[in-house]
Amino acid sequence: MSEYLVQFNNISKFFGKVIALKDVTMKLKKGEIMCLLGDNGAGKSTLIKTLAGVHKPDEGEIIFEDKKIVFDSPRDALDIGIGTVYQDLALVSLMSVTRNFFMGREPQKGLPFFKTFDIEKANSIAAERMGQIGIDVRDPSQAVGTMSGGERQCLAISRAIYFGAKVLVLDEPTSALGVHQASMVLKYIVKAASQGLAVILITHNVHHAYPVGNSFTVLNRGKSMGTFQKKDISREKLLSMMAGGEELDKLEVELKEMDRIENN
């Protein structure tokens, strides 16, 4: 048994001639929060979809609990315990909290052919789960549209955990939220990790990522610029790597060089 719960080794993905991902490697232990940082177009969405089983990697391997895994569909990823919470959360705002919580996996009761959706059981589980996060669900049959952005995010995460996620992949969970709401979500993510889940937190907001992350992987133009432990890297360094700071440094040098040539 290796120390890692899940390993993504040298993952590459091509779309025709376009290299969307090249040799991206990530390893996560139980209870670890790895932040995946990258600017727009860095390949974050492609990587998420590869982790979630939507895309098949063209190169590389996924090892989960020491077994090599091949996903044929998002369902496979869910079944082994990789729960992905997309940016759109997969919540229907006109449907109730309960109906959303169990969407696609409704508990049933009754005889075959006359099976009914066990709404009482579903209601009590949904209310209990939301209560554990400290979200005041006054009535689990209320529409999700009445909840705040942070509450919705927590609902989606809580749903993924309830349905057996061991690895949580979170796509920009704080991007649309205010400071207060974002900190509520981040707190919940830390709590989830402390219960033994591995969390991959995808974001472009270093200020949200740095306080909660144990390690940081920076993605730039489809390539990993390396994984860093928190003790080895500062917030400023991460920020400059993400924003292509090194490229800008190079540009500065080049411009100076041009100046020098012209002045001569």
Partner: protein, 375 residues
């Protein structure tokens, strides 16, 4: 202070979640999509009760008359509503009615099939056409509006062309004699509770013909189908896993797919549902009239959608109810028949239909905002 904590304590003791705020029954009702249609139907009945209360509209015969019209529309409106909740439209309902009609009539009259085989044949065709509509929408990602609009023309044209090719006419009469002793046809052609009406007639409680038989002979098959389908659809939507999938597929296709809802299968099954409901409509109509006509069902798709919308279905999907659609159909059926009992020229019916729909959409839109945006 002490009073407050006491009340919380007492709620805890009674096993109730203290965070669960008591919700008034009015608030629960306001959250239901069929509220508008319920109010509308009450208003319609009050209106006709005042205007036409003494004209025989609400006699046994008159009541069954407008219930029959409502029920026929309701059968297709409920299927249309379920499809709308699932996020799609079916504009081929009306053409499917005409097509199903000749699918029953031509084999039975011209090819000598027993009536029951041609009825099964019509349903089989409906499943095929519904499946085709569904698979086209799901696989191509085209709007169902376009796909089923094409099907509207294809089916109507095929109905006309095939009928004229085989029969040389556009009508196929002569079905009535085949109904007797048929093992299936009675499902669509029998008035039920006849004993009740005979008894009521013998007690002189309802109007009689000159020969002493009651004017209203029994509950028409359309009403039985209508009630059964309303109950069935409501059960599916509210009480089953498949019902939750319908709401999810219409509410957010991508989200539903991401959590494992088989959105494609749900939508295809709903398209089959509208085609099958159109065929039930056609069976009842063809067996009642004793003939099939190539123009049967024209514009019925729009009436079905109108009834579903009045019943609280959102055009964007994910919200609505079968009971709402049923009430919408009752409103339209009642007004279309009731208008004969008033001094109003029947030409105004369509004006009413349009106005009613507009009011319903505005009202439902407002309610939906209330439901989802209040914290």
């Amino acid at each position: 202070m002490s009073v407050k904590s006491e009340s919380i304590q007492s709620k805890k003791d009674s096993g109730q979640d203290e965070r669960l705020k008591k919700i008034s029954p009015l608030r629960v009702l306001l959250n239901r999509p069929e509220l508008g249609a319920l109010g509308g139907s009450v208003l319609v009945f009050i209106f006709f009760g005042i205007v036409a209360g003494d004209t025989g509209m609400f006699s046994a015969y008159g009541t069954l008359n407008f219930l029959d019209v409502s029920a026929n529309l309701g059968i297709i409106a409920i299927a249309a509503a379920m499809l709308m909740i699932g996020g799609e439209f079916d504009l081929s309902i009306g053409s499917m009615i005409g097509f199903a009609g000749i699918c029953i009539a031509i084999p039975a009259i011209y090819w000598g099939w027993p009536l029951w085989t041609s009825i099964i044949f019509a349903f089989a065709m409906a499943v095929l056409i519904g499946y085709f509509n569904g698979i086209m929408v799901v696989k191509t990602g085209l709007p169902s509006f376009i796909v089923t609009l094409a099907m509207l023309f294809i089916l109507r044209g095929a109905t006309l062309a095939i009928t004229r090719l085989i029969t040389g006419r556009t009508q196929v009469p002569g079905l009535r004699v085949l109904i007797e002793d048929d093992p299936i046809a009675w499902l669509f052609a029998t008035d039920t509770f006849q004993w009740l009406f005979t008894w009521l007639g013998s007690m002189k409680l309802i109007a009689l013909r000159t020969d002493g038989t009651p004017l209203a002979t029994g509950i028409p098959p359309s009403v039985i189908w209508f009630i059964a389908l309303t109950l069935f659809a409501t059960w599916i939507l509210m009480k089953t896993r498949y019902g939750n999938w319908i709401f999810a597929s219409g509410g957010d296709k991508v989200g539903a797919t991401n959590v494992g809802v088989p959105v494609g299968r749900v939508k295809i099954s709903l398209f089959i549902g509208t085609a099958v409901a159109s065929t039930i409509f056609a069976c009842i109509q063809v067996l009642d009239a004793g003939s099939a006509d190539t123009m049967r069902g024209t514009l019925k798709e729009l009436e079905a959608i109108a009834a579903a919308v009045v019943g609280g279905c959102l055009l964007t999907g994910g919200y609505g109810s079968a009971i709402g659609a049923a009430l919408g159909a009752i409103i339209f059926g009642t007004v279309s028949m009731g208008i004969f009992y008033t001094d109003v020229d029947t030409d105004w019916f369509k004006v009413f239909l349009g106005a009613m729909m507009l009011i319903a959409v505005v009202f439902n839109n407002y309610i939906r905002k209330k439901v989802t945006e209040t914290k």
